[in-house]
């Protein structure tokens, strides 16, 4: 089983609106649990349910595009306001295309007047920013995509 398989399974899980899915190859065990609501995605997205960060559920897979498997997504570990630089007039910590190292500061999340620096857990190249400067983020909001392969290639 490779990443391609996993991706395919994840797509199936989403497509079939599954709540849980188990699988074993040897001894061939499978276990499926479906949601009783059969629409695809967001059955419960009601007018009332307006998430502050655009209604994204806190999973580390961005829905907007299919990512190469080398891409990792940095998600917000806290609730607060996302900033790309330390001050309004300061340059951003990183930009699309920036090569980043482990432990390098990528952005700031302000919470309770404190500036929390978010460090990269991996080495790679910044592929995309998923949140605008100054936007509120919740726990788990996808922030930045980092391509680990692109870094190696560069």
């Amino acid at each position: 089983m490779n990443n391609e398989d996993i991706r395919e399974i994840l797509d199936l899980v989403r497509e079939h609106n599954l709540l849980s899915f188990e699988f074993e190859r040897n001894g061939a065990r499978i276990r499926i649990q479906r949601s009783p609501f059969q629409s695809t995605g967001g059955t419960f997205s009601e007018p009332g349910e307006r998430s502050l960060t655009g209604g994204e559920t806190p999973v580390s897979v961005s829905p907007q595009s299919i990512r190469p498997e080398s891409v990792r997504v940095i998600t917000s570990p806290i609730v607060g306001t996302f900033y790309r630089s330390s001050a309004p007039d300061a340059p951003p910590y990183a930009e699309v295309g920036s090569v980043v190292t482990k432990g390098q500061i990528l952005c700031i999340i302000e919470a309770m007047k404190l500036m929390n620096e978010i460090e990269s857990e991996i080495e790679g190249t910044v592929r995309a920013f998923l949140v605008e400067n100054g936007q509120p983020v919740e726990y788990g909001t996808p922030l930045i995509e980092i391509d680990t392969k692109a870094e190696e290639a560069s």
């Binding site: 009332g48 349910e49 998430s51 806190p58 806290i78 607060g80 309770m112 726990y139 909001t141």
Partner: protein, 465 residues
Amino acid sequence: MATPSKRLFKKVLVANRGEIAVRVIRACRDLGLSTVAIYSTADSQSLHVQMADEAVCVGPPEGQGSYRNIPNIISAAEISQADAIHPGYGFLSENAHFAEICNAAGIVFIGPSPETISLMGDKARAKALMKEAGVPVVPGSIGTISSESEGLDVASEIGYPLIIKASGGGGGRGMRIVTSPEEFSNAFQTAQTEALQAFGNKEVYIERYFINPRHIEIQVLGDGKGDILTFGERDCSIQRRHQKLLEEAPSPFITSALRSAMSQAAIAASKAAHYVNAGTVEFLVDPEERFFFIEMNTRIQVEHPVTESIFRYDLVRAQIQVALGEPIPSPPSRPEGHAIECRINAEDPWTFTPSPGIITRLILPGGPGVRVDTAAYQGAVIPPYYDSLVAKVISTARNREECMDRMLRALSEMKVDGIKTTLPFHLEVLRDPTFRSGRYSTSFVEHFLDRREQALEEEASEPNE
């Protein structure tokens, strides 16, 4: 809708989940306030998230990282521009530090002051204050006991049986019952060790231990202008291991003279603590109708609907109105009828083992005199991380007899598939002659379960005819 132009706050963040979050959102809606839900990643499909105007994910499933995560919750209020927080019950509701931070951040904490919360959280200090205010307290040591010999001296004054309790504790941990001086030494040491392990503080104190007491609590509401309103008592004696399972109001045991005396004591207790907003003064009442202060809960209680039902008074709405600085309506001078609440938990009805899972079918009871407070819906998940409350069913009727029958009817028409619930337990309790007689104490559930097991064993051992 009622939306005065100049209000102290307009958007309330509900720092809780489950039925109480739903309950608070309802009260906010009724008052024309908008609401922000918080949720853990396990709760993204929860009813409180669907119902609120906005929702912010504050952390992973475990409560410590989400519903108890003060920085994330305060930050959620800030990014959503909520200007008040209702803590519900449990989680951060009795956390003085949280109330303080709210105040510091300019967010109205819907509850009493941090000082009052802190004072009532320290059981020994609270007891001392109550004694001073003339409220009868459970006879016991003044402050903590530092040595075994001091303990033995105090014990001989109080008399046996007695109970050794952890100063910093609650919920049954660090407690030891002692029936004679011979047992004292051993129990004292064990209680200290348990207290240290559970609460990081080995301080203990000693109290008289009551046999077959009733657990009676008085609902109070400090209006913020110096007045304390009371709403009679709730009888919460139907407990298992200090977990309440069924509550009723009025208590079938309390006379009107006793009610009046206890209400006066509750007012004295609340005034001594400069109490503002909703709170509950808990008492033990012995078979001779003497009552003793145990503790004061500085929040809304799970069982508040039974009081609401017989007083026709919306306590959560009043909590918010007090916090808004608005006048609150006066309760009627006397309640009407009888109300019972059953806490239907996602648990095995006889072993009380939690039974999380998906609710595959749900039919809730309804009709006249039946209220349901729940965050459950067909398809909802009961996650394993939090308390197992599925729904509170509240029945109201003209008298206790009719109220019990109505509850029996309501519970028998309620269907919850996919998980185990305590419905069978509650149905049997409501048919139990001792419960129906109204003559029960906090040991009811223990005896009831013993009787039941014995009956089952006898049935099993009977030869087939």
